[in-house]
Amino acid sequence: MNLAIFFLVLGIPLTATICCIFIQRRWVFQATTITATALTAIAACILAVMVFVNTSVSAQGGFFYADALSAYVILIVTGSALVVAIYSVGYLDRQVSDGKIDPKILRLYFVLLNLFHSTMLLVLLSNNLGIMWIGIESTTLATAFLVAFYDRESSLEAAWKYVIISSVGITLALFGIILTYYSGLNAVHTSADALNWTTLMSVAQKLDPSILKLAFVFVLIGFGTKAGLAPMHTWKPDAYAEAPAPVTALMAAGLVNVALYAIIRFYILVNKSVGTTFAPTLLITFGLLSMAVALPFILVQKDVKRLLAYSSVEHVGIIAFALGLGTPLGYFGALLHMLNNAIVKLVMFLAVGNIRIAYNSKIIRRITGAIKIVPASATLLFIGMFALTGWPPFGLFVSELTIATAGFGSGNIFPTVLFLFLVAAVFVGLISYVSEMVFGEPPANARAGEPSVVSIIVLTGLLLISVVLGTAMPGTLFEFLQKIVMVLKG
């Protein structure tokens, strides 16, 4: 049963990948993708229930492992993938009919999307830190061509930078993993288990702190590069701006959380072994640095997708900051923020995708009066912007307030004040640009009419979920998060 569920979660998207390679008809591989992501999401739900009941699930002698933390991120990833799959169909059909994309390479897109999905799940399901690393490296490889999908100069440039920077980062992370393995070997003596997270956790007290500290530095920089923590975030605006909107959305909602997940795994380990000052200080520093670095780019920006990319940098910073607070409430806020941010980022990027189709531009100055051209998408974008910047009644308000509470509660007064200031300042940039896009008189060359009705329904649903999270968080979710907090406490 345990093994079966792991195989389902991992296998369905992988199978879909392979199927898509061989399917020729457009609607078939589109349907395959949607079905696969939906089934994966269902399997993920089953896994989550199992984890909820049994605290953790493992198979193959601990090779596959899922606890509340992994189940949670899996739910986020599969959910996002489902949304993105549904959106992709309409979006890309529209782009094909507009002549933006060669219909022949449409299949490649779905192949890579499914591959991307499965690599992310690989990270989340393996207990072995080495496999986790392989998974994360594979996400880079799977997305490399997706970033360069449009085959423009700028997208090639973005993809090149993306792959190079990510590879450098991931190489550094691998060194961190080797160091961890080394310290594990000293404590465990059976080389097969010394990379297993659960094993390492059980012997955490015996691990050499100085090595683990070093390892954490490398891992943080490495996976931080993938997550987009400043100053390793530099690929993010390029890649996010150049990739097709649904890919960007999945990167912002899924990949970011996967990379953070990897950091969290190490964070737990290091905290247990080294004590709770070293790693938290680093995370708080990187968190605030990311927020601060993102700020000037949000205050002065020309390109709406880059704007959102920097917002993603900021939110990764928020999550890192919250994790760094090191208190249960901080963990709670961080976890909640992962979910909230994913939901709203999906809405934002996908709404921008719709607007981009209508205006054929992602330059902010050229997009005006969107409320008259694509009323639903513009409204979604606008409300999403408020959700993203932590206004009630949306979920991010709750998570950001939780984080602030935790910050003050943990005695990090000045960092928290800075945090609140940065959150507020980022809003200023976002509202100024988004309101200019949404309001005003539209230009003559814009095409009125929503590109896809399905996407509007889906995105509205997502916003409603965010509202639910912001007003009446389900008790089950609360309990679930409590369980994850227990995991994070070690």
Binding site: I165, G169, P237, V293, P296, G369, T416, A424, I431
Partner: protein, 680 residues
């Protein structure tokens, strides 16, 4: 019984919300109008219910607390209506009633279905959140309501988003208010870290354990955070942009009650959450800010000839006057004079109510003018008293009230403020003794300037001859609008004549904070304000009104006795011998305020541009264009440099993203090296 009232209100508001959502689905104009009327009707009834509730709570001297839900993170969300909340509830609901009524007529110009539906939704949401803000008993619930209010308000400001100035105003508003909220979050977090609870009662209970420095920080946070909303100088800059941009009925709500929530917050924090022993410099600081806001607010108002901007600046001024009372209360309270503190706070809160009434009235009047003439520029108006007789009359009442003329309500509260401040002389503190005469003098200056400003506003708009065809063809507003304005005008007069009745309502509020009854400082006759401190002083608006009416007989009798029946002749105004007088010859609003502009030239910093076109020779001029720009000193010396500095540094920092892959790798490299050194 109270629960029924509250429940009725809640249901009313929810029905309002549902209904406006449904309106969006309906198709025909008729249904739209019907839905609109029903929605505003419900808003009216809901407000009325809230009014009854607030009144009951104060009269029955029984606080009300309703637990809404228990949250896992923030403790219990409850509405706790103590006397302060109840008083503000009264203010909110009074204006809510009037404006809802007014809106029925005013929104006839809204024909776009979807937009109107959204308007109704936002309007109801705004009223609901206002009630929520003043009744929330939990800091997080408060923040939620606070933000919903800001959001609803923002969208209402952006209602006419096609114009650039509206978008600018909306941006300024939402930016300022959001930064303010961030500071409020910091404040509540600090309080929470001592109280370990977000409930106001718990926060108030631990005030003794907070060290003075932290208390001061909390106070400053409150002053800045709430000050943004209240429009204190120099945090007011959004206010004169945002209030005019919104539709007039919304402006009335904004100026009348939304900014008062800032006052509510300041009072709530400094007297309730921080307890009864404030530090003295708080009060002095508040007095200072109050004076600056009042004087500069009215001066900038004088420089405006956009009717709604003018009114908006007056809101800044009146917030200053309110804060004089609050600041005085802080001073007295810190020096151990609870009775005086109660008196000062009463004066401030009384002015809260009064300002809500007359400012609401004035904005509604401005809305009627705007609707009738499609312009807010008073230079294009004139002579409207003939076309809009009712509007003119009610606007005049509002203008007189805001100028603190007896026997209207503005006079009563300003008189109380004067009295409260005057007793600062009896307090043995030199700083206060110096601060108070200056405050009094500047309050007098404010009052006089306000009168000057409203002579201008009323005189140029309603009197004389029409300066444009807009003004010539104006027609009077629909009945509901007139009734709403009339009701507010009547309230201005009634409260003006019977101020003691309001003081009775305020007694429990101050009693809760200072544990003294206002009755020990002032006697509470409905019609007379009697201060028993010192040598005793009194003023009786009721008798002033009666005597004014009675003494009117004297000139009438004299006129009839000496001159007999009046003989009248209608003639043209003397035009220095010219054949006839043109409306363009009248004094303009810009000209009217010129002497004051000259006197206060250092503060208002007017720049004028004159363009003259000559046709034949310099003596025969075809057109003269005169443009006057006033620039706020805060814009010039604070916000513009700040804005520039932020943008410049942002531009500079943006060079971090060079586009060079090598640089990016260098970032990683340097970070790695630094961390390696750190980790050793």
């Amino acid at each position: 019984m109270l629960f029924i009232s509250l429940g009725g209100f809640g249901i009313g508001a929810i029905i309002g919300l549902l209904l406006c959502l449904r309106v969006k689905g309906l198709n025909s104009q008729k249904l739209l109008a019907a839905g609109k009327n029903i929605a505003f009707g419900i808003a009216f009834l809901s407000s009325a219910a809230a009014f009854v509730l607030g009144l009951r709570i104060i009269l029955s001297r029984q606080e009300l607390s309703v637990k809404l839900l228990q949250t896992p993170l923030w403790g219990s969300f409850s509405l706790r209506i103590d006397f302060l909340s109840a008083f503000f509830l009264l203010v909110v609901s009074l204006l809510g009633c009037a404006v809802s009524l007014y809106s029925i007529g005013y929104t006839k110009q809204f024909t776009h279905r979807g937009k109107t539906g959204i308007f109704l939704f936002l309007y109801s949401a705004l009223l609901l959140s206002l009630v929520g803000v003043v009744t929330a008993g939990n800091a997080v619930l408060f923040l939620i309501m606070w933000e919903v209010m800001a959001l609803a308000n923002y969208f209402l400001i952006e209602y006419e988003h096609e114009s650039v100035s509206t978008r600018k105003a909306g941006f300024l508003y939402i930016t300022m208010t959001h930064i303010g909220t961030a500071i409020l979050v910091i404040m509540f977090m600090i309080l929470h870290s001592y109280a370990h609870s977000f409930e106001f009662t718990a926060m108030g209970a631990v005030m003794g354990t907070i060290p003075p420095l932290v208390r001061s920080i909390v106070f400053l946070c409150a002053l800045i955070g709430f000050g943004v909303k209240a429009g204190l100088m120099p945090l007011h800059i959004w206010l004169p942009e945002a209030h005019p941009a919104a539709p007039s009925n919304v402006s009335a709500i904004m100026s009348g009650v939304v900014i008062k929530t800032g006052i509510y917050g300041i009072v709530r924090v400094s007297f309730d959450l921080l307890g009864a022993n404030p530090l003295e410099w708080w009060g002095i600081l508040v007095l200072g800010i109050a004076v600056v806001s009042a004087v500069l607010g009215v001066l900038y108002a004088l420089m405006e000839h956009d009717l709604k901007r003018l009114l908006a600046y007056h809101s800044v001024e009146n917030i200053g006057i309110i804060l004089m009372g609050v600041g005085g209360a802080l001073c007295f309270s810190s020096l151990g004079h609870p009775t005086l503190a109660a008196l000062a706070l009463t004066a401030g809160l009384f002015h809260v109510l009064n300002h809500a009434l007359f400012k609401g009235l004035l904005f509604l009047g401005a809305g009627s003018v705007n609707q009738a003439t499609h312009t807010r520029n008073i230079e294009e108006l004139g002579g409207l008293i003939g076309h809009l007789p009712w509007t003119a009359m009610f606007f005049l009442v509002g203008a007189a009230a805001i100028s603190a003329l007896p026997p209207l309500n503005g006079f009563a509260s300003e008189w109380l403020t004067f009295q409260a401040l005057l007793f600062g002389f009896n307090v043995s503190d030199f700083a206060l003794k110096l601060a108070i005469p200056l405050t009094i003098a500047l309050l007098a200056l404010t009052g006089a300037l306000a009168a000057a400003c409203f002579v201008k506003a009323f005189g140029i708009t309603f009197l004389g001859g029409a300066r444009s065809h807009h003004a010539e063809n104006a027609i009077e507003s629909p009945m509901t609008m007139i009734v709403a304005m009339g009701a507010l005008a009547a309230l201005c007069i009634v409260i003006g004549i019977l101020p003691g009745s309001v003081l009775t309502l305020l007694d429990p509020v101050t009693n809760a904070f200072f544990a003294v009854h206002i009755g020990s400082a002032a006697q509470l006759n409905p019609g007379t304000l009697l201060i028993q401190q010192g040598g005793g002083t009194s003023s009786s608006p009721l008798f002033i009104a009666l005597l004014l009416a009675g003494l009117l007989l004297v000139p009438i009798v004299i006129a009839v006795a000496v001159g007999g029946r009046i003989r009248k002749r209608i003639a043209m105004t003397w035009a220095c011998g010219l054949e006839r007088i043109e409306p363009q010859m009248q004094y303009t609003a810009t000209g009217f305020s010129k002497p004051i502009r000259m006197i206060f030239s250092n503060i208002v910093r007017a720049r004028h541009e004159i363009e003259i076109e000559n046709e034949i020779s310099p003596y025969f001029r075809s057109t003269i264009r005169y443009e006057l720009k006033t620039e706020s000193i805060f814009h010039k010396y604070l916000y513009r440099p700040l804005n520039r500095a932020v943008l410049n540094s942002a531009h500079m920092l943006r060079n971090l993203q060079t586009g060079h892959l090598q640089t990016y790798l260098a970032y990683i490299f340097i970070t790695l090296i630094l961390l390696l050194i750190f980790a050793r």
